[in-house]
């Protein structure tokens, strides 16, 4: 195809940052492929990172824990977005994979002298292991997606949640059984005990856990973006949009559907292990259909097939109980409970976003961005 080379683009200029006044002018593919490929993105990423390092010093520990759990959920939401948003395979089974990760983490990293099975291994073993075991579960479930799609796949993955629920309830040696539960893994990394009540080098427990979660979220968000922007992410999109055409241009459907489930489950496993290590005690009832729905809500509210949307959605869902407590203050006593209000809010939000902004919070954000890009002109 050398004859097609009419004008070779200048691809050598790797470092040039664009001509003055034309911030969107790119002179190399490297610039185009970069994550923060506009000055505005670079500035806002730096701003966000600085803000998230300041936040822990402004908020109380109980609100910090809400954000910490939100950030850990965001890792799982990115995982669900990989399989459901990017690869288009609707999965209601996310709670199952989170459960597998949670119990793998708890068993490997749990107290060896505790009531339940625990090996007391360090965090750098139990955390990746939780991801890997969940990913293996995903590898086993993945082939189902090869034969089924849409609603049928949703129903089969739904079955997975009930299967998991039963197993988790009955395996009392590992899970403690319903109503009893067990302790999560020990949060101790590089000799720092993140669950100790003592201040850790000047930081409170809430602040230390916040930073831990922040670091993990940044790592997994970058991994998620790498998957999304590479050939694997494109193949996921091809499988989602047109599976026959994808196969005809050389994308192995079986391979990429299974890969989507495995990668998604890895993220879910890590989230499961970390989340319940921060929470402390958890029981098998946690991994019910409601948890799967919560994660789907994060993806739908945040934005389908976006990493930043998954994070926004997860933080939003994490803050929702606070919001419903706030609203409950205005509702007359005895009409509905806070929990009922929360359930109603879930439903309303999912419906509202699907009808009015299917691209989720990310879509709202792009609309605001485009408005200011064109300001003061509306077009």
């Amino acid at each position: 195809m050398t004859t097609m080379l009419r004008s070779a683009p200048p691809a050598q200029a790797r470092k040039s940052t664009g001509v003055r006044g034309r911030p969107l002018l790119r002179t190399s593919y490297h610039q185009d492929l970069a994550l923060a490929n506009t000055p505005a993105k670079r500035r806002s990423v730096i701003g966000l990172v600085i803000a998230s390092f300041v936040v822990p010093f402004l908020l109380t520990d109980d609100l910090l824990q809400v954000l910490t759990l939100g950030m850990i959920s965001a890792v799982g939401a990115i995982g669900l977005n990989l399989v459901t948003g990017y690869a288009g395979q609707v999965s209601l089974g996310h709670a199952f994979f989170i459960g597998v990760g949670a119990y793998t983490g708890a068993v490997l990293g749990g107290d060896p002298d505790g009531a339940m099975l625990g090996y007391g291994l360090p965090m750098w073993i139990w955390l990746p292991a939780a991801g890997v075991v969940a990913a293996v579960a995903g590898l086993i479930v993945g082939p189902l997606a090869v034969r089924l799609r849409g609603l049928y796949l949703a129903i089969v993955t739904l079955g997975l949640v009930f299967l998991g629920d039963h197993v988790f309830r009955e395996a009392r040696e590992i899970t403690g059984g319903p109503g009893v539960g067990r302790r999560g893994a020990e949060l101790e990394l590089f000799g720092i005990d993140f669950s100790s009540m003592e201040p850790i080098s000047g930081l409170s427990r809430g602040q230390a856990q916040f930073f831990l979660a922040l670091v993990f979220l940044i790592i997994f968000a970058i991994l998620g973006r790498n998957i999304a922007r590479s050939g694997v992410g494109r193949a996921f999109g091809a499988v989602r949009d047109r599976d026959v055409a994808a196969a005809v241009i050389g994308v192995d459907l079986t391979k990429y559907k299974v890969m989507a489930f495995a990668m998604s489950s890895f993220f879910a496993g890590v989230t499961g292990a970390l989340y319940y290590a921060v929470i402390g005690v958890f029981e098998p009832g946690a991994f019910s259909l409601l948890l799967s729905i919560q994660y789907l809500a994060m993806v739908l509210i945040g934005g389908v097939a976006t990493i930043s949307g998954s994070i926004m959605g997860a933080l939003f869902i994490a803050l929702l109980p606070r919001l419903s407590q706030f609203i409950a203050g205005f509702v007359p006593d005895g009409l509905i409970s806070v929990f009922q209000l929360e359930a109603i809010l879930y439903g309303l939000l999912i419906m509202g976003f699907l009808i009015f902004e299917p691209r989720g919070l990310f879509g709202i954000w792009t609309r605001i961005r485009n408005y200011w890009k064109g300001w003061p002109f509306s077009y």
């Binding site: 004859t3 683009p9 790498n226």
Partner: protein, 290 residues
Amino acid sequence: MSAASPHAPSSTVSPRPVPEGHVSEPVVSVRGVELAFSGVKALQGVDFDVFDNELFAVIGPNGAGKTSIFNVLSGVYRPQQGTVEFAGTDIRGMRPHKIANLGMARTFQNIELFENLDVVDNLMLGRHAHLGYGWAASVAWFGKAKRAEVANRRRVEEIIDFLEIEGYRQLPVGMLPYGIQKRIELGRALAMEPKLLLLDEPVAGMNGEETEDMARFILDIRNELRIPMILVEHDMGLVMDLADRVMAMDFGKPVATGTPHEVQSHPDVIRAYLGPVDDATLAEVQGELA
């Protein structure tokens, strides 16, 4: 817009698919293919060869089995009988992505682009088999994956340049006009650097100007890129002007194979389109076509 045939034109319409005096090995060779959908015979006794740098057209009325041939070639359907030899392998019953990786590319009658992805991503998907890195490199990004992405992006830009779609690069394909989408689908197939290109009605639903553009691209592909092509098309003007050889189909069977002119005036082909006609009408139609 006349295309000089690289092959010696055969003087008689022969049922044999091989043009006389041809020496090179065929790129694709189809023998005795039978395809049935529970009793409905979609293809019966289909034989043909396509040679290097040849533009081979398949014509026929609606439901004649033209697209079925494409679906058999690209592995979407598995024929019950016959052999399909491509790139030295029998590809009958092989899975579509494996056939694609052997070097067969196709476009679709109804556009099958990935509408939520932008133009660059659609073309990059055409290069999927050329990326040469796995999931681990993909997760890590820096190193192998990034190098491969940049190298393949360069090839994609050449195709964008070739098809004159520079202005649409970063737009989601779903919102582009129909004619441009057809061109992008052609680009996605070209990005695969195929050994054989299957074009399923590339100008269906296009206006005169768009048809001319597409015809020019098809000629460019043949003359500059030298990719053999099989073309299914209802626009007879385009087929007659571009094709080296034509195979006419009716009810799943090949009726005649030869140069465009021979096939056009073949009595069975005229009957396939017009129904049973008497000899006087036949002579009249042949006279008009001549």
